[in-house]
Symmetry: C2
């Protein structure tokens, strides 16, 4: 048995903020997040042994790489402490978490700060679409004649569901409506004050215009500036922490299980490989099953909530059956039954998800871990899932190229 | 005691190749490297559990990120295997190695493929200088009015040595001459067929023009297309490997020790922090001492060779005293005594280093590990250090922001 990796808590920025409009650069967002994270969790900077940064595309948006190098300057005691940056497109934050956890399991370090960060609203919208369009897919080979590559590929995913099982637009719209609705309860959600009409979730081309194919405006995750930090700790250091802060080690959440699989980078090859599988993305199903197996849980019914990737509504539609909430192709049943709503059988994206809360790409995996922590410690405020003990994440990079799932609980 | 991580061997591309001129994209270089690496080491693809990619700036040079996603398509058995990309500027390759080793130590995987890769010669020289100029330092805040940021900062390093201890240009030139000389013995070196005159290593402004300050043309590492792969394995899986291939586990090199420290990203803050230290970069000294301590070796005299970062001659000049070959500030003594030449007391960069062999940024840390493997297994050919048993690396990102050192031996 490997040693447990505990989650001491963390912090996320207000995803509604536009950093450039506030006069803030990437560095300012980083500095604010580390400082406020340390204060929020009440950990002494001297106790932090190492830092891992998840970021996708700072080179393009901010002409800045080497983000591990930002950490040392944040406190005198950080200077010299090992730091690094990890990238797997929209799953970058989860790769940073996996690396930090592996180093703790290996006994290298006791406490790791894991920071996910992305600044994306400092460039025009079409530039942002270009920056996130190419690099996360097979650049120059996929979607070369498409205006919005990601909406296109996730429209293709909806098409694939339609081909194999049938899919109705109204179920995708219902997912969007739930996530925007949950976001209204989340004080950090980018869209918490956005207003919608009944037409916003219909096929009304004015209120909900088509972006690409089956993907309309309200089916899309947001372009967001944001960062999140969590602190991971070995059992020994977690015990020190609770001793100092009161409480018991048993009350502290830990990473019960994880899964990590990577598929060929092109969407076409993934679909080709899955043609004989009951699942559209069998490797995503495998990632979730790996996390379940390591956590020692049998099925999704042992979970109290899920924070999943919903870069588009079709992504969440896929997550529903891949988590085993329904049989393959029957995700619509869970939508119709209210299963995935707050108070339902298995609430999904109580936080609002990427659609409602926002999607600062490299931060998302870390933010999911933070929301899982909040849920299982009963500190999620107005979006709390009552009595949550076990929550799973599913973070996806590219067209489900990199897939990572965690089960967090107590 | 943590479990040993063995090095099964690997492969590097010919660093003299210009990929774009050959019609090759980044993906082609990646595919070639994985395929040839697998063949060279004689490992079955099915035996590889995971892949880690070190890369600095593919987003800028190739509009491509998410390089972990390249791995799965290289062999049917790779599909679904976890892969990720790691970045710390010129130390990206070493961060990929550290992560792979941590996962093996944690018992997550048995065999990891670690690929370092960079394509840099597909854009004009000044564009390349811009791409590597900003992102690895504090972009927009350092060197904003400088034409060649990195030559400028490493000229500043030479200035700092001059201020503290005195430095002579001839000793920097001698380092360049040794590295270009060693490269002539290395069949993969970018500069192996380059010709120089006696004036090339003087202050002749025509034969050796100033780039920035104290840094002249021959003091610079190269812009290189290239990739390297090594395979790391747990003790159990390394034993399986030798069983199949003949030989004994004791004959297989392993990572005896490692160090990893990260300093504040700006050059100015590093120099400010070091003002009361005998070393210009005390954290670099600390990184090396961490690697020595974990390897259980007392001093540099227990090593048979070093593969160090020499992005500029001043970088290697700094490495000489920081490794403890001389007292601080006396690196020139080792240069004059012939200590660092092949056949000397402690040969440095027998491979040719970044100046002679070339510097495909994200590949360099992995290439250093591969050369260490070659040296300690007696398979370095014409640049073999006779009887080498222990070799250390020093890989540096930015202005010595990220520093990683490994000790590899048998």
């Amino acid at each position: 048995m490997t040693s447990r990796v505990y989650v001491l808590g963390g912090y996320q920025t207000d995803f509604a903020e536009n950093w450039a409009r506030n006069g803030d650069e990437l560095y300012d967002g980083f500095a604010h997040t580390v400082k406020t994270g340390v204060e929020t969790v009440g950990i002494e900077p001297e106790q932090i042994d190492t830092a891992h940064v998840g970021n996708f595309a700072a080179e393009l948006f901010c002409k800045q790489g080497h983000l591990g190098g930002f950490f040392a300057a944040q406190h005198p005691s950080f200077s010299g402490k090992p730091a690094s940056r990890h990238e797997a497109a929209c799953a970058s934050g989860s790769i940073a978490l996996l690396t930090a956890a592996a180093e703790i399991e290996a006994g290298r370090y006791g406490v790791a700060a894991v920071i996910g960060i992305e600044q994306m609203r400092n460039v025009p919208g079409q530039t942002a679409a270009d920056y996130i369009g190419g690099p996360a897919m097979f650049s120059g080979h996929e979607c070369t004649d498409v205006e919005f590559p990601w909406p296109h590929l996730f429209s293709e995913l909806a098409e694939e569901y339609d081909k194999r099982f049938g899919i109705k637009q109204e179920h995708l719209a219902a997912i969007a409506k739930i996530n925007f609705g949950n976001a209204r309860r989340n004080p950090n959600a980018q869209t918490r004050r956005w207003t919608f009409t009944d037409e916003s979730f219909t096929e009304d081309d004015e209120a909900n215009p088509v972006i690409e194919g089956r993907i309309r405006k309200q089916d899309c995750g947001q372009l967001t500036d944001g960062a999140a930090i969590v602190f991971l700790a070995s059992a020994e250091r977690a015990a020190d922490y609770v001793k100092k802060h009161g409480g018991k080690l048993e009350d502290l959440p830990y990473i019960k299980g994880w899964g990590h699989r990577t598929a060929p980078i092109t969407y076409a090859q993934k679909i080709e490989e899955s043609k004989d599988s009951p699942y559209v993305f069998p490797h995503v199903r495998g990632t979730i099953q790996d996390a379940f197996a390591r956590a020692g849980i049998d099925s999704v019914d042992d979970l109290d909530g899920i924070e999943t990737h919903d870069c588009f509504t079709s992504t969440e539609y896929m997550a529903i059956d891949h988590f085993g909430i329904t049989e393959p192709g029957e995700s619509w049943k869970a939508v119709e039954a209210g299963d995935i709503e707050l108070g339902g059988r298995i609430p999904i994206n109580a936080s609002g998800g990427l659609i409602g809360l926002g999607h600062p790409v490299g931060a998302t995996g870390v933010r999911m871990m933070l929301d899982s922590y909040k849920q299982v410690t009963g500190s999620a405020g107005d979006y709390q899932i009552e009595g949550a003990e076990n929550v799973a994440t599913l973070n996806i990079g590219g067209s489900a190229t990199t897939t990572v799932s965690f089960v967090v609980g107590r």
